[in-house]
Subunit: 333 residues, 2 copies
């Protein structure tokens, strides 16, 4: 049994971590909640217990066994050393340590064994990476994926609770004929969409796209996979979608793909052509599984090595909070 | 000078046709408006003149030189013969005649010459096809495109004015905590997205995707282009976006692409990496040009033959009404 600290407890991911703890048989008997001074004094209910939110400091980690950080890269860099010093293992939701060669980057369905090889910090991948990789990995295992071309449809939740509020507020403003004033996002999000607003490298790829490329290669332990990504923010509250085009080493059929994904952990096939029912954000919201559908041969590859997929996964849940809790479960075993 | 009939005048595309007539130097001196009995008695202002909307019948086309049909495939099939019999040339916005080998399928920026070879009907391509092809054609001319992988972000307007109303109503209902009841679309559209709700063929591709594939090959006069498409409806009012991955015959650089597109008709480059400003639906709305940005090398192709683009075009304008008016202009010259 252990003591878990949730850092960034009042943020969108932190709240989700607390909710997920309710439903899981995790070897944790004590939970402490930390946030910035602004949230101090609030109380949150975790597993039926009302727990105070305390201000995060370097002294927060005494007696803590596991700390889930979801308070941004800057805070992770600042406070992870204190957690390590106190003997806690850090599961970090930020991008701070993901590409550090000494830090395992773990999706439990894919590379759980990497989690055992940590030096105090285990990184949680980017949400878009997790949602894609959970669907692609089971296929990669039976027929190596040589190339991935992905276009994302990312929800507001990826930018936090304030971004979800902005989508609601702007939508109401637009409907009422009021002027829209972007605050969280650089562009209007209501009834609009735009290229992911992360910095853009000289090669033209933004940071989100670069994460999908680099993290997937690290998690799959395969630097040779060719990947191109286009990341787009859409006016959806939570749950990301991704249109994924795959090229395999050998020919593969949609039926083979269905056969593999049917028993794949963390995957649910939603692929009802008759009823035109496929993965949608509102269906993925609150779900642990990544929904996979539109499974079909890529008509642009005549050699039968191409497959098209459309997936949806809850960005706050499997894309962040659930994956982190699963990593703690791996460690607490 | 000629007499133009607008069939389906009160629909989303018909209204747009009337607006576009205002601003263009088109050789038409008389405009007649037709719709279903429901709209009879309404009046619409075209070029400053109030014109009555009359009920469409087989006798509507006496003296008509050009008829733009935007009332759905069924009505086109039913009434185009009467228009032809009366001596009118039909520019048809529906899918009814697009793949008929005797009917030219025309985007004036690409294959204006095909319009001259008609037998009374000229088909206007699907909106998603037009928006993609206007951006891809100028590149195809200088370096043949061998493969296209496209994922769309399609607005509600593609399903007509009632679909736009549904997006507004559902958004208001969701914000007010009321239950959402889909009527036009089969799934909720507010704060959600879903696979394009057209029938799905045994190969798993829906009709919209099939249109993008077949129509592009017909317009480009190149049946060899390998194309795969994934068509998705998003909660945007009008203007479609498309994430386009291209493979060329020979290596090509983003700078070459920019050089070609800078002077391409119907194209505006919006590609400001510093300001993170790229094509967006709210920027494309009301514009004649297709906005093209996120121009970059496809990192998944090591031979330099791959380019990624993100484009946005007004679905009602260049995707439908404007293209049809441009075709009439070609004929009326």
């Amino acid at each position: 049994m252990g003591h878990l600290a949730v850092v960034g407890a009042t943020g969108a991911v932190g709240v989700e971590v607390c909710e997920i703890l309710d439903g899981r048989d995790i070897s944790v008997d004590r939970v402490s909640l930390f946030a910035s001074a602004r949230s101090t004094g609030k109380r949150m209910t975790v597993r039926g217990q009302s727990i105070p939110v305390r201000e995060l400091s370097e002294h927060s980690f005494e007696g803590v066994d596991f700390a889930i950080f979801s308070a941004g890269a800057e805070r992770s860099r600042q406070f992870a050393p204190a957690a390590l010093k106190a003997g806690a293992v850090v599961v970090d939701n930020s991008s701070a340590f993901r590409m550090d060669p000494n830090t395992p980057l773990v999706i439990p369905e894919i590379n759980a064994e990497d989690a055992q090889d940590h030096r105090g910090i285990i990184a949680n991948p980017n949400c878009s990476t997790i949602i894609m990789d959970v669907a692609v990995w089971p296929l990669h295992r039976v027929n190596p994926v040589r190339r991935i071309i992905v276009s994302t449809y990312q929800s507001a939740s990826g930018a936090g609770g304030s971004a979800m509020d902005e989508l609601r507020t702007q939508s109401a403003d637009h409907l009422a004929g009021r002027k829209i004033v972007p605050r969280v996002f650089p562009h209007p999000i209501a009834f609009n969409l735009f290229s992911h607003n992360t910095p853009i490298a000289p090669d033209g790829y933004n940071t989100e796209e670069r994460k999908m490329i680099d993290e997937t290669r690290k998690i799959f332990h395969d630097a040779s996979i060719a990947i191109s990504a286009t990341c787009i923010r859409v006016p959806v509250l939570r749950a990301h979608c991704e249109s994924i085009n795959l090229t395999f080493d050998r020919p593969i059929t949609p039926d083979e793909v269905r056969g593999v994904l049917k028993t794949a952990p963390g995957v649910e096939i939603v692929d009802d052509r008759e009823a035109n029912r496929f993965p949608m954000p509102i269906a993925a919201t609150g779900q642990d599984n990544v929904l996979v559908g539109r499974i079909r041969q890529d008509l642009s590859q005549s050699d039968g090595r191409g497959i098209e997929l459309f997936v949806s996964g809850d960005q706050l849940r499997k894309g962040a909070a659930l994956n982190a809790v699963q990593i703690v479960e791996l460690l607490a075993r």
